[in-house]
Structures are given as C-alpha cells and as structure tokens.
C-alpha cells in the first residue's frame, strides 16, 4: 500500500517498499474499495472464490478517497442487483458491482444514464452483446485495476454504464506485482462525484445544461435519453481517459493492444486468456510458420472500435479471429468484424490449448483453404466451471489438532508469569478499548489471537454425544426408525440384569461390545447391525485370554444379548449424509403406507379405461378374411364366412364411441399415466426430489410448479375416470366443472394420496424472490416438504450482525402461515431428529425442515456432531416443532421442550476445576452464544486470550455480563473460560461485536421461549385467576356472616311469602320465617284439591279430532284406497289424516274398522247432519278409547 502524498508519478519512480502481489480478483476488489462509494456483490454469487476473496478483502477496510469507508452491499438476485446499482448511480453515488458467471444480466432500460461500473469475471470468454453499456476487456491484474479507474472515468463522462470483463482462469494466472493504489492519483484522476463540471458534449448540454455534477443526481427527475446517442460518444471519452491516465501514472493503453502487427502478414485477434496464451507462444508460432504473425487485443469491444481495427488490418494477408463460442456467430465482435473484413474463425473451448494442433490449423488457415474452423483445439476437456479457482490466502495452514480433555483434570492457569509489569488502570483501559473497538494496540496482546483453545464447556459434552451416535436406521419401522445403538444395548442390559442382579460380567461384556461397535463403524461402508455385531463379537473374543472361563462366559452373554436384538438395520454414524438418509427413509415409509391400496386401484382404472377405448365396436367389423384366417384350413370349406360376417355386422349396431368421449378418455389416460410411476415406485424416492443449487433455484421452483400442475391434472383425470367407468359422466353437467378444475378442487381424500414434493435447498443459494415463490407454494395445502440445509448458523453477511439468519426468518414465516409443519433441528439427537422428520412426512400438508447440518469442509478443531450439540445448547440453532396436526390450540402446536433446559436462557452445567491453590472449585457454567462463536475459526479475531497477570477484578463471566443493565455494565468486562493444550483453564475476552450478536440471539431465544411456554403460562394464569376468585368469595362470606345455603333459603322463603299473600318481615334468621310459612300453609291444600279435579276432568275428556297413530302404520293402502284425500302417506309411506273434512264420518269409521293395525281413531263427527250418525258413533266407540 502506498502512503499518500506523492504528487507526480512517472514510470521511472522507484517504489522502495515491497510491492504486494495480487491477482485480478483482489486487484479489482481493492481498487473498488478505495475509489467507490458503494460496492457490492450478489448474495447468491455462485463463485466460491469471489465470495471468499470479497469477504477477506472487504474486512480489511482499506483507506478510501472519500475518507469514509464505502457502503458495502450484498444484493439478492441477478437483476435486482443491477437495478440497485443503477439506482445508486442515478442518485449521485459512484457505484460498482462485482460478479461472475456466464449469465451476465444486461440489457435493461433502467441502465440508461446510470454511470456505474460492473466488473464481471468470465472465464469462459463468452461475451454478450451490450448495446447500452460499454465493455472493456482486461487480461491481467494490472489492467484489471487500471481499467476500473478508466471505466469509472468513462462512465461518468459519458453517463453510460460500463462493463469490465475479466477472462482469466485463475489456475494459470500468476500473482502479479501491481503498481496501483495511490490514493492521490486516484483522486486526481477520478475527481469526486459532487464536483461541478462542464457538460462535455452537445447532447449532454441539451439534457443537463451547461454545467452538471460529475455524477448527477436525477433520482427525482424523469429523463428519457436516447442511449444510442450517448454510446456514440464513448470512444472519444475513452481516448480522453487513456490520455489522462497515461499522463498521470505513466501506463499507457490503447484501444487495441498490438503485438508485432505492423510487420505482420497475418493478424490474430483474440481476447483475454486466449491472448495471453498467444502472446506467450508468439515467438514459437512465428518460428514455425512461414508468415509473420501478429496479435491484436481489443481493449474495448462495445462500442466496437471498427476504425482502429481496420487501420491495423489494412493490407494484411489473413485475419484470424479467436472466439470462445463454439458457434462464433454469437460472439458480439463477430458481426462487427465481419462488416470490416474477411476472416477465419477459430473456436476455442475451455481448457489448455494444444500448441501443435494450433500450429497445424494455423497453417491451414493461413493458406486460406477453409474459411471457418470449427474445432476444439483443447487437449483436456475440462468442465467449464463457473468457479474461479482462487486460492484463499490461508489455505496453507494445517488443520488444528483437536484437544483431548476427556477424563483429565482441568487446572486453572498459574499466576507465575514473567513479563513486563503494567498498572491495573492502564491494563483495564487497554482491555476496554479492545472490547469496544475490536482492535489491540498493545503489541504484547496482539499475538494472543487464534491460539488453539476450546470452550471449557465442551469437556463435558463429549460424553453425551457418545451415547447418541452411532445409530441404527431400521427400515419400515415407524416406531423406532432411528435408535442409538448404545441405547439398545443399555436396554438389553437392564432387561437382563433385572432378573439376575449381580451379573456384572454381562454388563462388562456388553460395554466392551459397545465400544467395539463404535470403533468399527466407519463412514465409507454402511453395514447392518447384525453383521457389525457379529464382527465385533468375533474381535472381542479373539482378543480375550483363553485361560479363565471368562471367554466362554463372554460368548454366552454376547449370544444371549444378540438374540434379544429386536430390530435390525443399517448402522450410521454422524455425517452430513445422515439427515438425508433419514428423510429418504421416512418419505419412503410414509408413502408406501399411504398408497398400499391406491396403486392397485390406479392400475385397475387404467386398464378399465383402456378397455373403454378398446370397446369401439364400429372398428371391429369382422370381415370374411378375418373369420377365415382364424379357422384351420382343414375346415375352411365347410363354413360360410360370409354369413358369419353379415351376422356380426348386423348384431353389433355400430356404436362408435362418441368423438368427445374418446378424446376425453385418451386425455385422462395420458394424465393418469404421467404420475403412475410415482405410485408404483414405492422403493424409489428420488422421483419426489427436487434439488435447488447455486444457479438453478428459479428453475427448480418452476419444476415444482409444473409438478403441481401435473398432480392437479392427475386428480382431475382420476375423478373423470371414475365417472366414466360407471358411465355417469354427463357432459352437460360435468364438463363445466372439470374445465375449471384447479388445485382448490382437490378433495380431502385426494390430498392424502398426493405424491409429496421434496425440495432440497441449501440456505446459501436462496434469495428473496425465490423465498417469495416458495412461500406462495406453502400457502396451498399440498404436501410440499422443504428441506432447508444450513451449513452455517450465522448469515454469511456478518457485516450485518444483528440480523438472524434468513432461514430462521423463513421458519417464523412458515409458522405464521398456520398450516405448515415446521421442524427446526440440529442433528445432535438422532432419535428425536427422526421423530420430527417422520411426523412432518406424515402430516398431510406442507412442511418445512430447517436442518443444521454442520459446516461444509469443517476447518475448525471441533468435530461435526459436537458442533451440532453446541449449536443447540448455545441457542444458536434451537430445536423447535410446530405441528398443526397436534391440536387446534396454538399453544399445544408449538413445542420447544426438546431443547435442553428450555426454561433457562442458556444451558447450565456444573463445571469443576482445580484452582491455582490446588482446591477443587465448581461453577455453574453456561454455554452461551459467545462460547459457540469462540469455537468458530472465522471469529478468532474477536477473542483475545488474556494471560493470568493481566486479569482484572472487573471481569465477569459473559452469562452474568449479559444480565447487567447498561449502567452497571459500563466498567465491566465480559470473559469466557476456555481450555488450552495442557488442560489449563484460561480466560478469553470477546469483542463487543460478538457480545452484541449474543444479545440478539438471546432475544430470539426468549421470544421462542415465551411462545413455547405459552401453554404453561396460560394454565398458570388461570390458576392465579381461580385462586383470586376463591379469595374474594371467602372474604365475602366472612363479611356477610352467612353461608350460601342460608342465603338461598332466605331468598326462597321471601318469594313464597310474597306469592301466598303474606307479609314479609325482614328478619335475619330463618326461624321467624318458617313460623310465618306455617300460617300461610293452608291455601296449599286447596290448591291440591283443585289440581285433582282438573286431572279427573281431563280423563273424562274424549277424543274429538280424528287421528292416526302414524308410527304404527304398516302401509297396507286400505285407508288410502277408501279416501285418498282424507288419508295420505307421509314421506315414510305411513298414513296420517291429511284433511279430516275431505270425507264423511262414515268413511272414517269404515277405515278404522278395516285398518289391520287398528290405529285409526275416528273421533267425533264434524257434520251433525250426516245420516246414520248414531250407529256410526257406536261403531266408532271401540276405536276412540
């Protein structure tokens, strides 16, 4: 890095300091960080190298020409990135975007008059045409740095956006020593965005007036400018830029870089790495050829420098154009070049160029025997990867040796330490400044980062883990899909020793077996438990001594235990593939269960539909020949085939299948067959899987939507098929319905047998547009299971530390959708993990599995499974289950009880150690988020080891520090305990950055706690309320001096006296009232007597209205045949009197006599003038009782 203050620059100036080495990637990043106000990369940047380089370099905060650091952006998505930067540029900021990959997002209207610069790393060399952006091509690191400045200059002068293409493939690039980064030079060359300048051209004067800002702010204006006009001026600005740059730095560039073209007969035009290779080998090529060969490298390809090229090519014998496209017509310079001259094209694909081949083909090309060469002159067909192989700077460091603290006593650090003395106050101030700024000034302390330390808490947890893994994954066993092997062995021991106490040898043998099994499990080959068990037994027995009878006993014990093994399955240890296997198996199991009957039904339907199509009888007109051919020749003469044929034709009245029906059946057959494999392929779960990777997340979502569409069509076909087979499909009624069939029309039964969709996503590769698309899918209630694999607990943008990872956000969002099963878990406990997954798969609806699988390519000293456990205990990745199927009560659906010590902020454990005096002390140590980060190698800069002599009394453990309020914590320092190599206990101070992160994580955990303990909270509140009510009741009773019963008695007696006409004398005791009552009791007897009379009168009342005991009617039609207007049947075909006036009393009596059930009651005659009434009444008498 150069110090500021150098005014002139010339080629000959010697720089005394050692020039650092760079490659294009870091060169670009370093330059942009110094000269831009807003820099960024895309969040879903596919290139690992770019991302890593960005992370490392941007952290260093190099000085900047504005004396303020640039705003760092990480935009999501390709096109939103462009839009964002265009927006920044239009608001007057100098902005640049860095990206890589073959899909360059260009060509948008938003780009007009937005002077920003895009750097694009394009190893494939496949340029894209950019009519509204100018393009420069840089082929070395120096050029990369220089062209960034030149591009900014040009962009700001011409107000057109610029694209700088870098085509290096980093395996081949040497790190160059760069001459750059002089801030003064940059400032002079570029100027500041707010400077007022004169509008450099006519067109700009027209739009902006005479003067404008270097980067104008037209965010509030709406201008429509013709980009074509502006682009036309770019070459002049380029010339200007190059001249100025050369004057300032001494490095001069030209529109076209030329090597030996003046004297050459043949000119080869190439860009980027192709040019580099040619330049290297030019001498050799020239030697081996008759003609003189020159090279040309266009620095600017858009707008294409036609005149410059034609000047160079004037009079040359042959022009050869090297393109990276296999069909060079797509190469942007191709068409422009074709307008100028005839040339021969070489298509060079990725990989190393074979010199010999190139030379031969070159000769043929020069001879002119063929106009276009389409061959692949690469030797190794290396895959064109979008990965730029960028070596991270620290790769050479060896992996740290893991620290073993099992079973050893941990001693506190001893106080004897030689060294410079420092006063307590100074010490504290230094430590505090480190805490606040994260930087140390004391050289003594500077070396105390990144030592091989481990959180003290971890010495405990290892025991827990050994009990959880390895596990046995047993197929087709939904109760014990995953069971830890050690648990199985423990159960056997308990069962066996229950009956036979004191059988220690059994226990010992089995413990030995447990250890042996664990050691035998290796990740490469997956073995069954039974096989592994046998092998372990063999090896144990072979190792045992044969003299004492213990060997026989051991054999017997082990065999007994073997017989008790209830389940068998594959033995898995913890590795990143474990969660995927569990998911795979649970999907398979659940799906097989669901479709056990359906697959048969489906096949039946398909066969029946084919039968319908085959029944098209009109197609089967049997001809004479057909008949004849089906009979053996010996009998042919004796049969009259013509008549046969006639009979068949006559009897089958041609019933052609209606065209519409035929078409319909064919279509539904096609739709059914489309998804048929999903139902019959019970063993293959890959048909349900969709994977989302770096570049294709949007495509995958498209695929899922296509599958949903196919599923809807399948069920539509299914229902139509069922109707067709019953011949119940009526076009008038059903067409209308089925034509509008959509996902909403799936019935409840359909939903149960919808094939699940498994979407595997790695959280690194998602952006918010895809998130939105997935959330939309989740709102339908189709069984879409999203498996979100997290390799990291913390969001990669550690520059925004207070944000939770977006996957946690996603989990919360899914819970808010109410019908999504959400399961978040690190894979520390295999059994519990499998349980959560299985329930999610069984759930008939969408599910989200948020899984922490541990970092890829683990570079820390902590093994995978331990990291998982740490993530859970430090609340970095708490386990939570939201199961909508459990209950309609929200509190019961949400469960955080699988987290250890979920009532506490952090997991606490008693930690014992030997203090410096040799006494054993213990402390309740919490595993906080800070401890979790302490084990993460990315945060080594944030943890400062403090030797004993610098310990200060104001240091508190982090767990306590976090509980202090800001006033109390002002002069306190937090620290954590870590263990070192010799089992020494040390203290380490975290920076405030890390403590802030811990606080925000704690916040999230607390909100989860509140939600999860909602049920308990509610019951507690209800209890309180009840108690409160009881208390009030008791108080009232005491005050009023009466019990409830007495009060009741009083009220009732008051009422009675009032009713019976007595006088109520208010009294406070019951006796006076009862005396009163006695006096008033007389009337009751009278009332009683009156009641009896009424009852008698009722009995004497006769049946007046005719009626029928309808319920006893036997529907014999007798009465309805007599008079159907009077007697009618109800809906159950039982008779009742519909209209008593519709017939005569005679008919009523007749019906009553005829009724075999004797349920007609004629009653009294309505019409007194009917003849013969007396006789009729007499006849009716027996029926009227």
């Amino acid at each position: 890095m150069k110090t500021a203050g150098k005014k002139e620059a010339s080629k000959t100036k010697k720089r005394k300091t050692e020039k650092p080495t760079f490659d294009s990637l870091t060169a670009v990043i370093e330059t942009e960080l110094r000269c831009s106000e807003a820099v960024g990369i895309r969040k879903n940047e596919p290139s690992n190298s770019l991302r890593q380089a960005w992370q490392q370099t941007s952290k260093q905060n190099p000085p900047n020409i504005y004396n303020a650091p640039p705003t760092i952006f990480k935009t999501l998505g390709n096109f939103s990135a462009i839009d964002q930067f265009a927006g920044l540029a239009k608001s007057g900021l100098r902005a640049s975007l860095i990206g890589s990959g073959d899909q360059i997002p260009v060509g948008y209207n938003t780009l007009s008059i937005a002077p920003f610069v895009m750097h694009w790393f394009l190893p494939s060399g496949k340029f894209v045409p950019t009519p509204n952006m100018f393009q420069l091509v840089a082929r070395t690191a120096q050029q990369a740095a220089d062209f960034s400045l030149i591009a900014h200059y040009m962009a700001e002068r011409s107000l057109c956006p610029g694209l700088v293409i870098h085509t290096q493939n980093f395996e081949n690039t040497q790190n160059e020593k760069l001459e750059v980064f002089d801030l003064e030079e940059m400032r002079t060359f570029l100027g500041l965005p707010d400077d007022e300048i004169e509008s450099p051209s006519e067109i700009q004067r027209k739009y902006f007036g005479g003067k404008r800002k270097r980067i104008p702010d037209y965010s509030k204006l709406s201008l429509s400018v013709e980009t074509d006009e502006l682009m036309k001026e770019v070459p002049s600005f380029l010339k200007e830029a190059l001249e100025k740059f050369a004057a300032l730095t001494g490095r001069s560039y030209d529109f076209i870089e030329q090597v030996k073209t003046n004297a050459a007969d043949v000119v080869i035009i190439a860009t980027g790495r192709n040019f580099n290779w040619l330049a290297e080998n030019l001498a050799k090529l020239n030697k081996g050829s008759n003609s003189k060969i020159g090279l040309a490298h266009p620095v600017i390809i858009s707008p294409f420098p036609g005149d410059h090229i034609s000047k160079i090519l004037k009079g040359k014998k042959r022009v050869i154009f090297i393109s990276s496209y296999s069909s060079p017509e797509y190469d942007p310079p191709f068409s422009k070049l074709a307008e100028l001259t005839k040339f021969v094209t070489f298509s060079v694909s990725a990989g190393q160029i074979d010199f010999k081949k190139f030379q031969d083909n070159l000769e043929t090309a020069i001879d002119g025997s063929s106009q276009k060469f389409e061959f692949d002159i690469s030797v190794q067909k290396e895959k064109l990867s979008s990965e730029l192989a960028h070596k991270p700077k620290d790769e050479a460091e060896p992996k740290k040796k893991p620290i073993e603290t099992k079973g050893q006593v941990i001693k506190e650090e001893s106080p004897d330490e030689a060294g410079t003395e420092i006063s307590s106050g100074d010490n504290f101030r230094q430590l505090l400044s480190y805490f606040i700024t994260g930087k140390v000034t004391d050289l003594d302390l500077q070396k105390n980062f990144g030592l091989n330390l481990r959180p003290a808490y971890l010495s405990k947890s290892e025991n827990v883990l050994n009990r959880n893994f390895p596990v046995c994954l047993s197929r087709n066993n939904s109760e014990h899909l995953v069971k830890p092997v050690s648990k199985m062995i423990d159960e056997i021991i308990i069962e066996e020793t229950k009956s036979d106490e004191g059988n220690d040898s059994f226990k010992n043998n089995l413990s030995l077996l447990k250890l042996k099994l664990e050691s035998l499990v290796n990740g490469k080959k997956v073995e069954k438990l039974s096989e592994l068990w046998d092998r372990a037994t063999e090896s144990i027995l072979s190792e045992m001594k044969t003299d004492n009878g213990s060997k026989e006993e051991a054999q017997k014990n082990l065999q007994k235990a073997r017989a008790k093994l209830g389940i068998d399955g594959e033995v898995l240890s913890y590795d990143p593939s474990f969660p995927l296997r569990v998911i795979d198996e649970s999907v398979r199991m659940v799906w097989a269960e669901k479709t056990v009957y359906f697959s048969d039904l489906l096949e039946l339907l398909i066969t029946q539909l084919m039968g319908i199509l085959g029944v098209d009888l009109s197609a089967k007109s049997e001809s004479e020949e057909n008949f004849g051919s089906s009979v053996a020749s010996a009998f042919k003469d004796e049969m009259d085939f013509e008549s046969f044929s006639n009979i068949v034709d006559e009897s089958f009245e041609s019933q052609p299948l209606p065209k519409a029906k035929q078409l319909r059946v064919q279509n539904i057959l096609k739709d059914l067959r489309e998804l048929h494999p999903l139902y019959s392929a019970v063993g293959k779960s890959n048909l349900f899987e969709f994977h989302c990777d770096a570049t294709s997340c949007a495509t995958t979502i498209g695929q899922i939507q296509a599958r949903i569409r196919k599923t809807t069509k399948f069920f539509r076909a299914f229902h139509i098929a069922k109707l067709e087979i019953e011949n119940k499909y009526k076009e008038e009624k059903h067409d209308r319905f089925f034509n509008e069939y959509s996902t909403n029309h799936l019935t409840a039964e359909d939903l149960e047998i919808t094939p699940p969709i498994l979407l595997y996503v790695n959280s690194q590769f998602m952006d918010e547009t895809q998130l939105a698309a997935i959330s939309e899918i989740l709102t339908t209630d189709l069984p879409i299971k999203i498996i979100l694999l997290n390799n990291d607990v913390i969001d990669q943008s550690d520059l925004l530390p207070d944000q939770p990872t977006w996957s946690t956000k996603f989990a919360n969002m899914a819970i808010a959708l109410n019908n999504v099963y959400v399961f978040q878990s690190a894979v520390a406990d295999g059994e519990q993990f499998a349980g959560g997954i299985l329930n999610g798969m069984k759930y008939n609806g969408p599910a989200l599995f948020n899984i922490y699988a541990g970092p890829e390519g683990n570079s820390s000293s902590v093994p995978f499974d331990l990291l998982s456990l740490m993530a859970v205990e430090s609340r970095a990745f708490p386990t939570l289950v939201y199961n909508p199927a459990k209950s309609s009560d929200w509190g019961l659906r949400f469960n955080i009880h699988d987290n250890p010590q979920f009532e506490n902020d952090w997991t606490l454990e008693k930690f014992t150690y030997e203090d410096s005096n040799g006494n054993e002390t213990s402390v309740d140590l919490a595993f906080t988020f800070v401890d979790f980060l302490a084990a993460d190698p990315r945060f080594t800069d944030h943890f400062l080891y403090l030797p004993r002599k610098r310990w200060h009394e104001n240091m508190v453990l982090v767990q306590d520090y976090l509980k202090l309020n800001p006033k109390d914590s002002k002069y306190k320092l937090p620290y954590i305990l870590m263990t070192g190599e010799n089992c020494t206990l040390c203290r380490v101070i975290p920076s405030s950055f890390v403590v802030r992160m811990a606080l925000s994580w704690l916040d999230i955990w607390r909100s989860l706690q509140e939600a999860g303990l909602y049920k308990e909270e509610r019951t507690r509140l209800e209890e309180e309320r009840r108690k409160g009510i009881e208390e009030v009741e008791q108080k009232y009773q005491k005050e009023s001096g009466k019990s409830e019963n007495d009060l009741k008695k009083e009220i009732i007696t008051n009422l009675l006296t009032r009713l019976l006409g007595g006088d109520i004398k208010p009294s406070t005791d019951g006796t006076a009232l009862s005396a009163q009552l006695e006096t008033i009791s007389a009337p009751t007897l009278e009332v009683q007597k009156a009641g009896e009379e009424v009852a008698e009168k009722e009995e004497a009342v006769e049946i007046v209205e005719p009626y029928i005991d309808t319920l006893l009617c036997t529907s014999c039609n007798d009465c309805t045949n007599i008079n159907s207007r009077m007697f009618a049947y109800n809906e159950n075909k039982q008779a009742y009197i519909k209209d008593a006036k519709a017939g005569t009393f005679k008919e009523l009596v007749k019906a009553a006599e005829k009724c075999p059930a004797r349920i007609i009651h004629p009653g009294k005659p309505k019409n007194p003038s009917e003849p013969g009434l007396d006789k009729l009444i007499k006849r009716a008498e027996p029926f009227n009782k």
């Binding site: 096949e603 053996a632 119940k728 319905f737 039964e749 319920l1111 529907s1115 039609n1117 075909k1133």
Partner: protein, 331 residues
C-alpha cells in the same frame, strides 16, 4: 384449509331419490298383507341410503312374497321356487358392486330351498336375505308350510297338521358361519325398518325372518301377539338395535342382549312362548365368500384374448399370426 369430501364431487347436481322413485307398480297383495309393510320398510331403506336404482337387485323365488321384485324399480330376478339363493349368489360373485336382496317365503326358503339355505349361510356372501314368514303357502291357496302351527287344517292336512313347526332361527344359528340373524315382525314398522337397516349394513349374509300376517288365510294367527305386548321379547342393545323409550313402555319385556353372544342367542330362540324381536346374532369377523374369491388381478380384454387363444391353439393351429404355433394335439 378446507377440503370437501369426494362424495360431493360425484353427486354433483344429482337429485336425491325419494321413496316413490323406488316404486315401480302398485302392489297387488291382499289388503292388510304384511308384505306391504316390508315393501315400505325396504323402500325407506333405499331412500335413506340413497341407493342408485341400478345398483340394487331383488331376487325372489315363488310365492306371494316373491312378487316383491315386481314392485321395486331396481333390477330384479323372479326365479324358480326355492332357488332364489343360488341365483343371488351367482349375481353377487359376478357383480360384486350390486346390493343384493333376496325375498323368500317360508316355504320357498325352508321347504324346497332348504339345501340352498344351509349352504348360503355357510358361504356368508354379502347380501340381505328376508324370509317373509306367514306360516302358510298363500299363493297356492292355503297349504301347510314347514313353519305352520301344529294342528292347522289346510287342503293338504284336512285333519290338521301333525308336526310342530320348524324353528327357523335356531336352524340358522346352528349352521357354521352364520354371521347375522335377526327376527322381525311387520306390525311394528319402526323396529322392522331398523332391523332391515342393520342387516343392510352388516358385511356378510344377513338373514332376517319377518313374521307377517296373511289376512286372507290366517287373519287371526298373530292376534294374540299383537294384542298382548308381553309375548314379545324386545332385544335391545347398542350393538344391535337400540329400542327407544316409547317402544320400551309398550313392550315391557326388554332384554339387553349382546348380539355377539351366540349361546344366549341360541337360548333365546329356543324359548317357548316369547317371540324375540331384534338382532339375535351378529359377527362381522366371518370372512365372506365373495371376498375370499375376489380377483386380485384385473384381466384386460387383451389378456383374456391371449389366454383364450392359447387354449384354443391346443386344438387348432392358428396360421394368421406370424409364428406358427405348433400344438401337442393338432388333430
């Protein structure tokens, strides 16, 4: 999210069936004949279950009862005397999707059709068999049937019938695989309907014997039972028929009989003097013959053709196909 059930889809815009939809012709039975009651009960069942007309078939033998299929608008088969059951079984095997009902008289079932009756019970195919027991041969103008009371004077027994009547229920309960046996009386329409409904829902051979009046030839036969409610033993149970309070007030003899208790059922039917009404025995576990013999594969027309051709080729050489099939016995 709300999802409706599949049935809604199929029933789109279909009008529900009413009882009249099932009536094809006005019954010509004698006024007061118990068959009317049974007809009403069956029509009510069809209406309540909304059985599509093309999905039911009534098979009968010969007799007054066997006029039944003529008055139902479904499929029907008025067959030979005593042979209703084998025909019904054949229908069920060939068309397992149809609901099969069998209507027999007492003579039809217990006299000429005895052999079929016993084996039908054992086969336990899923159908409802109703015996219209009026204890007489009515259509042929009054002859004695196996269930006629002892001493009845008819044209074939001018001096009175000599033998005690056959106990249908105990015979049925004595046959292996009996899975549903019930007794009903046609003058309590509510109970009758419930019995037939239980029989319909039972998976297996549901045998109901319904005591019905013949108003022409034996008008007073059942009078004692009709007028004296104590002669009826009401079998009430949640697994059988749950009698409501009204009935329990009228028919005071109520027994809580668990239909799975076979021994008690046998005891009840052997009791003299009391007529049990309700579900006597019920067992859903007994496998049905149609299930046992169900085709697991569906043979498509092509497969059938292929199989047939293969058999035929044993007798004649088919020269149409490209490969000449050589057979073992070609002459």
């Amino acid at each position: 999210m709300y999802r409706y059930s599949e049935d809604v889809l199929i029933d789109l815009e279909r009008k529900p069936y009413s009882m009249e939809d099932y009536q094809s012709a006005e019954p010509r039975w004698c006024p007061g004949c118990g068959d009317n009651s049974i007809l009403t009960a069956v029509q009510r069942l069809c209406r309540d279950e909304q059985i599509p007309l093309e999905k039911a078939v009534f098979v009968s033998g010969i007799g007054c009862s066997s006029r039944f299929p003529h008055y139902m608008k479904t499929y029907g088969f008025h067959s030979l005397h005593g042979r209703a059951l084998p025909i019904a079984q054949g229908i069920k095997i060939r068309r397992p999707d149809l609901h099969v009902f069998v209507n027999m008289g007492d003579g039809d079932c217990c006299s000429i059709g005895t052999a079929h009756w016993i084996h039908a019970i054992r086969y336990n195919m899923n159908m409802v068999a109703i015996v219209h027991d009026n204890e007489i041969y009515g259509l042929t103008k009054m002859q004695v049937s196996p269930t006629s009371p002892q001493g009845l004077k008819t044209s074939t027994t001018p001096y009175g019938s000599y033998l005690k009547p056959l106990n249908i229920l105990s015979t049925t309960l004595g046959v292996t695989n009996a899975s549903f046996v019930a007794n009903g009386v046609e003058w309590i329409p509510d109970l009758l309907y419930k019995t037939i409904r239980e029989a319909f829902h039972h998976k297996g051979f549901s045998f109901i014997r319904i005591m019905q009046r013949c108003p022409h030839y034996l008008p007073t036969l059942f009078d004692p039972m009709i007028t004296d409610p104590n002669k009826i033993l009401l079998l009430s149970h949640e697994k059988g028929i749950q009698a409501d309070d009204v009935l329990k007030r009228i028919y005071k003899n109520v027994e809580e009989h668990d239909p799975s208790n076979l021994n008690r059922a046998r005891e009840i039917v052997s009791m003299e003097g009391k007529i049990p009404v309700g579900v006597l025995y019920r067992n859903e576990e007994i496998p049905t013959y149609d299930d046992l013999r169900k085709n697991t594969q569906f043979f498509s027309p092509e497969m059938r053709e292929k199989a047939l051709n293969k058999e035929f080729d044993k007798f004649a050489i088919n020269t149409v196909d490209s490969e000449v099939v050589d057979s073992e016995d070609s002459r």
